[in-house]
């Protein structure tokens, strides 16, 4: 069975603590998600979400405090608006917007966290692995105009996991770096890229070679 990979951005005060509560209550849920703890869901930049999809996530879950409960007054409202703007953008990029989910889970809602995790993993599993080819392929080929076009082309729906891993395996390190540089938001200045890129390249290259 296809096991989606999920990145969870959880706010420290509500959802992260809710996940802690699910733990202390020994509630069981699937192990597909890994949590990145942020102070506030408002810290989550849409680019973090895009980066997660870019790096092979099949789904991204953002968890924040309920409206009016934000530890920082209104960070969750900011997230709500950002997510609303990001979803159509994802669609334009050919990523099903359902792969991104924003949920309000309080520190007292361990049960809700489990429900959300179960539901989201099932939903993403039903969508299948995220098809995310290099940008060049996209630009060269027919322009996707959203899900409808994709469905018409018959490319949506379940895909075997092997296809994805095959695709991952053929990525060359050089290609990945190039893609990263291209994909990485333009705002990240040259200074930063030069600071970081060589380090990561070395590592991923070594890893890829090992594979």
């Amino acid at each position: 069975m296809f096991e989606p990979r999920i990145v969870c951005f959880f706010c420290r005060w509500c959802t992260y603590a809710g996940a802690d509560l699910a733990g202390t209550s020994r509630k069981q849920y699937p192990p597909n998600g890994v949590v990145v703890r942020v102070n506030c869901s408002g810290r989550v930049d849409p680019q973090h979400v895009l980066w997660a999809f870019r790096e092979g996530a099949d789904g991204v879950l953002i968890g924040g405090c309920h409206p009016n409960d934000c530890h920082y007054q209104d960070g969750n409202y900011k997230t709500m608006r950002r997510v609303a703007l990001l979803k159509p953008l994802l669609e334009q990029m050919g990523i099903e917007p359902e792969r991104l989910r924003l949920e309000w889970i309080s520190a007292a809602e361990g049960e809700k966290l489990v429900g959300v995790m179960n539901g989201f993993v099932d939903a993403v599993r039903a969508l299948g692995p995220l098809e995310y080819g290099p940008i060049a392929e996209r630009v060269g080929g027919p322009r996707p105009t959203g899900l409808a076009a994709k469905a018409a082309a018959g490319t949506t729906g379940k895909k075997p996991a092997s296809k994805k891993s095959a695709k991952r395996a053929v990525k060359t390190p050089a290609k990945k770096t190039a893609k990263r540089a291209a994909k990485k938001p333009a705002k990240k200045t040259a200074r930063k890229i030069t600071k970081k890129a060589p380090k990561r390249t070395g590592r991923s290259a070594a890893k890829k070679r090992a594979r």
Partner: protein, 652 residues
């Protein structure tokens, strides 16, 4: 820089090791780039476990430590202390949560749980690689407090802070301190005379050498941040030089203009130049220009003529005073829900339907009726009185949904005092539930219903109207299911408590959070009930939610002790993992300034770049996510760190 991260995987007995193959996690991480040392141990938080971490830091010259164990809320502080004692910066010690977020929630699938644990630890290793050594931010302190509101909570807070050795500025908007408590007749459940217990405190506050009392003044503006507030206070023109005035009261006696007294809730008149009540502190009159004959048509001037010390000054203007303080206690109190909104009970137009505070004034020995219960319409002693609880409260459809907490008790007290004064009278009390949570409260209620024969009727009143000089009350007794109709002489409304209108204005000025009803929000409902989320602001009394006198006083003392604790340090230490701005990259778009909920991001007009005021920033990261140039970053949770963490979380 070469990364030398140490990874310490905890078994937590079998809590982690039972589900996660800890050896495999340690081995997998040992191979991870940048990891210099990786090991596992039964109980990492035990003394030998902590020593293992300390020794490894020294032996392997670690640049970062990951303890893969429980949630950071549990032992982050423990291991940061251990790291510090081994010479490491505490902010380079991180927890990887493999218990609450992994072993406890994926029981029965060791393979998957182990793989997830590896991903979790790897994610944190990637964070630790870019963690910088941080030091807590030191902020200078002005050890002087502002207390806003001179009710019992404000007075108590001011006294406690002053007695702890710090100066206090106590600001009250009305001419006297005392608040609503000064209006009360007697207090439940002991029936102490309210003024007898309050006035000594009022005098103490006024005479305290460390308290600067500013009555008839309002907070105009607050700038700055914790430890360093600059507060502008408007001293309203009293048209009386209160430094010269001796409080003889001659002007008050001679003043010809009358208007309903606020203190007596409109039941009696006061003069245009007045002291609100005989025990007022300071006991010096103010002139209410709105109702003064001289200000209206330029003729009169009697007060000026009769004043033996020439204290009356018609030319006086509002004055703005600036004070520097380090902490602010907000104790702005409550108002009653407006009777005008209770249309079904006459909307305030029926004379013999009175509010609870009006009834308090009637019961008070110093009140307009000198303590005799007389109805406002004709001054007759009412023989049948109906008391209504939950007027506006607990009514989510029409009014406010919350319970005002004190109405059951004070109406019980009202009914009891009424029966003590009018022995042949009948008191009815309509209730939804009688809520008597408090020391001696239930006994008090029992006394009212059993010894004083107050008739408790369970049900709501649907309508009150006037008929033949009577106040007709239509209600229902839900215990018998029968309709109840009482032709009463007087009805007393237990109106909902709402935050004072001034409090809401002030909350906006201070930028402190309030709930949807306007009550100020505490930092944590259980564990930080006297602090506001905005640092440096503390809450006391009914401004934070409906409460009775003991609770208000307790909260005030709590807030005062928080202020004293803040002032006990030479400087104020703040969490350093906050936002910072790279001036070279900042384009000066000011988006960060507009999204910051604390006004911590400010614009430097000279350099044309934004700047984060370290003393205010809470580290929420809203500005960083909004920054289009990437110049805003969060220390030890930079975008680069997040990107690397995401990548690590997705690797197999």
């Amino acid at each position: 820089m070469e990364h030398r991260i140490g990874v310490f995987v905890c078994h937590c007995g079998t809590n982690i090791a039972g589900t996660v193959d800890v050896k495999r996690v340690a081995e997998a991480l040992a191979k991870h780039p940048g990891v210099a040392y990786s090991t596992d141990y039964t109980y990492m938080c035990s003394d030998p476990g902590q020593n293992l971490v300390k020794d490894a830091i020294k032996k392997h010259r670690l640049t970062g430590v990951i303890v893969a164990a429980c949630s950071p809320t549990l032992h982050e502080a423990t291991f940061r202390r251990a790291g510090t004692s081994a010479g490491m910066n505490p902010y380079q010690v991180e927890m990887a949560n493999v218990r609450e977020h992994c072993s406890w929630v994926h029981q029965g699938d060791k393979e998957q749980a182990t793989r997830k644990a590896i991903r979790i630890v790897r994610t944190m290793v990637e964070k630790a690689k870019l963690d910088e050594a941080l030091v807590p931010i030191e902020v200078p302190l002005t050890r002087r407090a502002l207390v806003v509101g001179g009710g019992v909570a404000g007075i108590q807070a001011a006294l406690d802070i002053a007695n702890a050795g710090y100066e206090v500025v106590l600001v009250e908007r009305s001419p006297s301190i005392g608040g609503h408590m000064a209006q009360l007749s007697e207090t439940f459940p002991t029936l102490d005379c309210s003024q007898c217990i309050l006035t000594p405190k009022m005098v103490e506050a006024a005479q305290h050498r460390r308290i600067r009392l500013m009555t008839y003044s309002e907070v105009e503006d607050v700038a700055g941040y914790v430890g360093n507030f600059r507060v502008k206070i408007r001293k309203k023109a009293a048209y009386v030089n209160r430094d010269v005035c001796t409080g003889c009261g001659l002007c008050v006696t001679k003043c010809p203009a009358k208007t309903p007294s606020e203190f007596d809730e409109g039941l009696a008149p006061r003069k245009a130049i007045y002291t609100p009540f005989p025990q007022a502190v300071p006991n010096k009159p103010v002139l209410d220009a709105e109702h003064c004959t001289y200000f209206k048509n330029g003729k009169c001037g009697v007060c000026k003529k009769v004043c033996p010390v020439s204290a009356v000054d018609y030319e006086q203007k509002d004055e703005i005073v600036e004070e520097k303080v380090g902490a602010i206690v907000v104790a702005t109190g409550f108002d009653l829900y407006p009777m005008a909104k209770m249309g079904e009970y006459g909307g305030g137009k029926i004379k013999d339907v009175v509010t609870s505070l009006q009834f308090e004034r009637m019961l008070s020995a110093s009140g307009p009726t000198t303590g005799e219960v007389k109805r406002p319409s004709d001054g007759k002693v009412p023989k049948e009185v109906v008391f209504l609880t939950c007027v506006g409260s607990r009514d989510p459809e029409g009014h406010v949904p919350y319970c005002s907490k004190v109405c059951c008790m004070y109406l019980t007290k009202h009914a009891m005092l009424y029966k003590h004064k009018v022995h042949d009278g009948q008191a009815y009390l309509f209730y939804m539930d009688v809520r008597t949570g408090g020391k001696g409260y239930e006994e008090f209620y029992q006394r009212a219903s059993e010894e004083d024969d107050v008739l408790y009727v369970r049900g709501k009143v649907s309508k009150i109207f006037e008929e033949d000089g009577k106040v007709v009350v239509w209600g229902v007794d839900t215990l018998t299911g029968k309709k109840v109709e009482i032709a009463a002489d007087l009805a007393v409304m237990g109106l909902a408590m709402v935050p004072s209108a001034a409090a809401q204005e002030l909350a906006n000025k201070l930028k402190i959070h309030a709930d949807e009803w306007g009550f100020l929000s505490e930092a944590h409902p259980k564990l930080r009930p006297v602090e506001s989320l905005a640092p440096g602001f503390y809450l006391a009394g009914a401004a934070q939610g409906p409460k009775d006198i003991p609770e208000a006083v307790a909260q005030a003392s709590g807030a005062a002790s928080k202020v004293a604790a803040l002032f006990a340090e030479e400087v104020y230490h703040r969490e350093p993992a906050i936002a910072c701005i790279d001036e070279d990259l900042c384009a000066g778009c000011r988006i960060c300034v507009s999204v910051c909920p604390y006004n911590a991001a400010e614009f430097d007009e000279e350099k044309k770049v934004a700047r984060i005021q370290e003393a205010i920033c809470e580290g929420c990261g809203a500005c960083i996510a909004a920054c289009p140039s990437g110049s805003a970053q969060q220390r030890n949770l930079t975008d680069d760190q997040i990107y690397n963490m995401v990548s690590a979380a997705l690797e197999d």
